[in-house]
């Protein structure tokens, strides 16, 4: 029989008794207090050595309990202690828990609802389109697209490589084929007439910016100056031209309009589609 076990048993019993007395007295504050008479009537106050008679009695009792039913008594005692403690909060804690649960559900519900509302507002097509609302991006786009169109639709018969380079740098996706088809005729004619075609964007406006995709409407002037034979290259440089006029020795001017789809990739805006409105 170890003295530690003996000590623990004593502690348990004392605690159980104290709790029981506290519950019956109706003063939970003093539960377990060793100064209660209910505790001292059987057990000595802590710190003071037990009278020899009491100690021997206990030792004897414990000695018996080691073999027989004292374990049950211990269990009973600790059960009483548990019951005493939970009796205080039994009515309060479940109600509090239920309220907390309800609050959790309410807060969670509100969070979900507010999120849905915010997403619905942001998904509004008018708001998703940041043309003009994002002024910095809008003007950047206008500048980049104007430069791209200038390069992509200008052609110097003495430097055909420049156009190919521009196509490599600025085009992506189906715009590559569109550009080739649009420029094939122009190049042939310009080569034959030894002409220089210069395109200058005069007006541009951003129709739509949605993330890293955008569409820009562009008005451009094209001048075609021939250096061989009759001087001015006959016909507009671009099939989109709808009005032309000869400006003396300057050559032929044509006005063109087109819508350009651009996509933002690796920090650059690339042309991904060229819409000439079916012309």
């Amino acid at each position: 029989m170890s003295t530690t076990r003996h000590h623990i048993n004593r502690q348990r019993r004392r605690q159980a008794r104290a709790t029981r007395s506290a519950t019956s007295a109706g003063t939970p504050e003093s539960a377990g207090s060793p100064t209660r008479p209910g505790g001292t009537a059987v057990l000595p106050p802590p710190g003071s050595p037990s009278p020899p008679s009491a100690r021997t009695a206990e030792t004897a009792a414990d000695g018996k309990a080691a073999g027989s039913g004292n374990g049950t008594a211990d269990r009973k005692a600790s059960g009483a202690a548990l019951g005493g403690r939970s009796a205080r909060g039994r009515s309060r804690r479940p109600a509090g828990l239920a309220a907390l649960c309800a609050l959790t559900v309410l807060l969670g519900g509100f969070a979900g609802w507010a999120h849905a509302k915010a997403e619905a507002l942001r998904d509004d097509p008018a708001r998703r389109n940041t043309a003009l609302t994002d002024l910095a991006r809008t003007s950047e786009l206008k500048g980049r697209t104007s430069k791209a169109v200038d390069r992509l639709f200008s052609y110097d018969h003495t430097d055909p490589g420049a156009l190919e380079e521009a196509a490599r740098d600025l085009l992506t996706g189906k715009a590559v084929d569109q550009h080739r088809a649009l420029l094939a005729d122009v190049r042939k004619r310009a080569d034959a007439q030894k002409a220089v075609i210069t395109t200058t964007v005069t007006e541009s406006a951003v129709e739509r910016i949605d993330g890293d995709r955008a569409r820009v409407l562009v008005y451009a002037d094209q001048s075609s100056v021939g250096t061989a034979g009759n001087g001015a290259a006959a016909g507009g440089a671009d099939r989109t031209g709808e009005s032309r006029k000869t400006a003396g020795d300057e050559g032929v001017y044509a006005g063109a309009m087109l819508a350009v789809d651009v996509v933002h990739r690796d920090g650059r805006w690339l042309v991904s589609g060229i819409d000439t409105f079916g012309r």
Binding site: A111, A126, N129, E203, A205, L217, Y219, M257, D275
Partner: protein, 182 residues
Amino acid sequence: MKRAVRALTAHRPRPLSSLVLALTLVAGGFAAWTGQDWYRAAHDDRAAYAAQRDEALAAGEQAVQNLNTLDHRDLKQGLDLWESSTTGELHEQLASGRAEFAEQVKAAKTVTTARVLSGAVTELDDRAGRARVLIALRVTVGASDGAKTDKDSRMLGELTRTGGRWKLSALGQAPVGGAPTG
């Protein structure tokens, strides 16, 4: 020893309560975050600006189409529509030249229809109520002999907001080669 036992019984962690409390706090955090997010989305200045931009563009496209549509058989309705789509100087020009223009169209017996190919706003001052638009237009003119000709127009329009509605206050074609063509 005794104190340790008491401390243990008094502050023994209650797993269920702690879990529920933690969940409540998390839910509260989410609720605060999404609520603020929602408030910001609802009070975004850019949303009102975007709405004005789209309204101005829609009105501009419709007005430009109206002004390029005229049937010699129904001049009154067509020209009324012209006047109701415009404001300011443009409106006065149309009103003063109406009779003369009506005679010309009656004599030519033309039916003009227009289709907007594309349009975009270049400038928008939503406080002053002024906007500038680019509108790509395809005009089809049907002559009295049934022949039809298509012509693309690069329109530049100016809009002014009057009485909560956007109306055209100026309209012209983008000049070619640095000089206006009409």
